[in-house]
Point group: D2
Chain length 320, copies 4
């Protein structure tokens, strides 16, 4: 393959730029032409495409967000939109593309794949909700961002002997809450994968209080079926402990990527180019243990990773 494209789609994630850089530089190093497609599938339809050079990805490795920008595209969900996208790829002579994004972005890629364009998917999302890979790009950065917020909040929480509910991202996948909760020393971790039990939450807060604990951190994924403000009120009523709410929201999306995310992005970008260079079929690229792995794209989208109950229980023991 001689000409490839790269785009970022869906919610942005720290490390997307590191992945774009790896795709561009590894591609050029193999003698390919690499085209940057702006604003995801929307930009593809619009033909917002420019050839990338070694320099065009200089000084972006440490930047959050994505220089290719990203957007949702209603049009691309239609037959017409996809046909149009194919015409644009043909017009530019682009033979295969690398899609950096989450579940939705991969499904979009699958449509192009069905129409004959090899698509290599790189998991770029902070949610870590793709079953076929141990980790997604941006997850480690998001967890560390939540940790530094926890550090700030703990100061205030202790000084006032308060409980604080921290709402983090995660509609269906509680990994951010689980990892940040365990490593942040949260007293309670609430995730969509586990039943919500207000009594268990209050029990731990009361136990902590009796043990002389000053602060209580409740780490809650947004997907848990209880409103965060209401949860705070319930805790306050049942434990008599003043309870505050902090919703981290978009803070978790940005920031300079951690070493781990940059490494993951660099290795995956390199793998994506290698697969296109070897004219492989569409693949979803992931990390399995310490190895970069690649699954058949459609297959990968079906794979589910069970919730890590072992970590969940460990977190409970460590915060006793």
């Amino acid at each position: 393959m001689r000409k490839i494209g790269v785009l970022t789609s869906g919610g942005d994630a720290p490390g997307m730029n590191a992945a774009v850089r790896a795709v561009v530089r590894c591609g050029i190093d193999r003698g390919m032409e690499v085209y940057g497609i702006e604003r995801g599938y929307e930009g593809l339809i619009e033909g917002e495409i420019r050839e990338m050079t070694m320099s065009s990805v200089g000084d972006i490795l440490h930047r959050g967000g994505t220089i290719l920008r990203t957007a949702r595209s209603e049009r691309f969900k239609t037959e017409a939109g996809q046909k149009h996208a194919m015409n644009v790829l043909e017009a530019f002579g682009i033979e295969g593309i690398v899609v950096i994004g989450g579940d939705g972005s991969f499904r979009g890629g699958l449509e192009l794949s069905k129409r004959g364009v090899p698509v290599m998917g790189i998991p770029g999302t902070i949610d870590n909700d793709l079953g076929y890979t141990d980790y997604t790009i941006g997850f480690d950065t998001a967890v560390n961002t939540v940790l530094s917020a926890v550090t700030n909040i703990r100061d205030t929480s202790s000084s006032h002997e308060r409980a604080t509910v921290i709402e983090v991202m995660g509609r269906h996948c509680g990994d951010i809450a689980l990892y940040a909760g365990l490593t942040g020393g949260a007293d309670n971790i609430l995730v969509p994968e586990m039943p919500f039990d207000i009594n268990k939450v209050c029990r731990k807060i009361i136990q902590g209080k009796n043990r002389g604990k000053l602060h209580d951190i409740i780490m809650k994924a947004e997907g848990v079926e209880v409103d965060t403000q209401e949860l705070a009120q319930m805790i306050e009523e049942r434990t008599g402990k003043e309870t505050r709410v902090v919703i981290l929201a978009y803070l978790q999306r940005g920031g300079s990527p951690t070493a781990k995310d940059r490494m993951l992005a660099s290795r995956m970008g390199s793998k994506a180019v290698e697969l296109l260079y070897d004219d492989e079929e569409s693949r979803a690229i992931g990390i399995c243990g310490s190895e970069i792995c690649a699954y058949e794209l459609a297959e990968a989208l079906e794979m589910k990773s069970p919730f890590n109950t072992e970590l969940y229980e460990l977190a409970d023991i460590l915060s006793k």
Copy 2:
């Protein structure tokens, strides 16, 4: 004076520990006994008092929050509560106290002062809302905390070509929004001191868009008389630009104090001890230009500092 007490009261602020450390060590250095009073006026009434040593304030200089903890006290607002507090001070032989906190804490100190105990007030609040001093302890840290949030949010905001409304603390005083807005390159700064004009806000966003600006940051103090979520909707409707909301809330309160706040706290703590040592009357300690200043306590509480319109206009020019 031989025996003094120190307490922190009201909302905590980064640098309170640095101030406590300075009071304790400067006091001991002058041969005084220094007593730490826990949980503000509530702890004073309860007699939660312990003698401090050089070591008891070791390793706290860089910590956010307050090791003396803080609390609101309804009882202290009553005649009875204040009398009780006086008895406790007498029982411990404490001749004067240092109160680290905001407006409300100072008013509490004034009551003790009227009953004959010299009280030295140190401005510990992130809001910078005390008229007699240029800066309060914690303000610089809070502004820098907001700045790092802005950096994170800008990444995402640019990638999605979105506008983001960041709500920061400040019910009556817009200084956090003003300083963080100017130094964070916010396109719009909304403070309680200035009239809110939705058209001006939208005008700047549209101008920026036409100039090819990708992100828009609207820095809004919580005290501005428009609901933050509603504001985001108004902007989205009127500019057609997707608009998100981030409420920083308690994130702004914690964190390790900046050099500036540690310096301010150290100098003010030293000054408070000096004034008590010299048997001066109750004072509010502040920073005026580069000098530490001290006003008669009651007087200080009456002083108002005008909103800095010069900075407000400069911010507007710089974000054009």
Copy 3:
């Protein structure tokens, strides 16, 4: 087993406290008594031992260094010292211990193991130089610490169009240089495992210059057989590019552990307790892929992990 001890030994590493916390809390949770041994093997000989409680490891999860402190012990290298240590363990009724440290600490543990005390080794060192485990506790934090230094240095380096040699830790193992170099976008990475070629270094700097690159970062592990200052001079003479040196030294050792290191430490600490609880023989605990693994202690010390040439070559391509 009912009574266990835990000590940290050798150079400190971020995450050691997280491991101590996990050992203490998981041990107590299993109904064991857990004793903290201060200052490594030296404190063991001296009998500097105290029983730990749930609270005694509170608020340390996010702290760098080690609350148990660490020290080198000449005495423990002697027959007499080891006998003495055994007597102390017997006196306290400690049946097994967890040793958190590097290669040397494990060898010390092996001596106790030979004398009949089960020893569980947890890899706590920033160098990542233990062959049996993919990662050691502290490595991820150290790499991220180097990255933030690179960010600072790049600013100055670009403004002055200078080259900068950054010397990082790693006498025999170049992993810090490799990981921080690849993820920091270093133009050259010098590690003890690969031959040093001044011409290759200069070639890349000259190529970068011709490509309009402003800054050059040379990431050098201390173990590379060329003096860092001399290297800078050689580069300056051969490329005509002003070249500066920064030696990060002990900066790399401290700091709050990253999420990854806290997670690793928590999981390994839990595993160590489980093995002692089950009266297993001495083991070295590690992470293999995404699983916690445990090798026979003596065996583990013999295992070598080959240098990751794949990453080394990827770094070269990415920095072209």
Copy 4:
């Protein structure tokens, strides 16, 4: 005045970009043309000049270093070089310039001023060594950078019960050491302005040891007349305490500017433009207390600010 230029010269400092941004945007806002001169006086001689727009200074406010780059210029020190520079300014129709830099850069500006070009000097240097202004741009950032290094080093220092000598910048001016030492809780602060007394240094270390202090931080400005490595040896020999050295070097120069430095840079940039707009004579712009001040350029270079012995003594008391 209609056409102005701006350049950065000498060592770079965090906040220089914020100053450039303010000069450009305030200039354009007043209807002036603003030209960016690259690589300081060297670029001026070479005619490396481009007109700046509102957008050309977008997204630089939070960046360290300087987008205009900086360089030393031997040629500009000559009569011929200065004449040449004047010709270039005339060729571009540039009527006045803003020079952002330190002492040397101001002296260069003075030469142009003598030849009839109004020059407004903005103090951009981390050293805070300009007598006419309370603070220089970059100083606050540098001090905070040193503080975060101290936090890292303290962890390791405590775990090993070691002393650490931290060498910071400051050849003639010890302000970085003084401010970072006081706010970092250094046990000893060594500055060029005060006599060096090895006995005093050791006395405090021994006292601290006896008080059960685990770590000792000695903050030393590079200008102090004792070699840092030798100092460490002297301390080790005389106190028996293991002593390490960390030289922060260029780490202190980079990084994203703090809120205080961005504010200072923005206000000074605005003032410089105002003065040129009003056709004022050459001035050195500074901050005096909380007000922006402007001195006659030649005069400003003669002004000396005495070393702040009050802070020096306070630091000594606080670290007892």
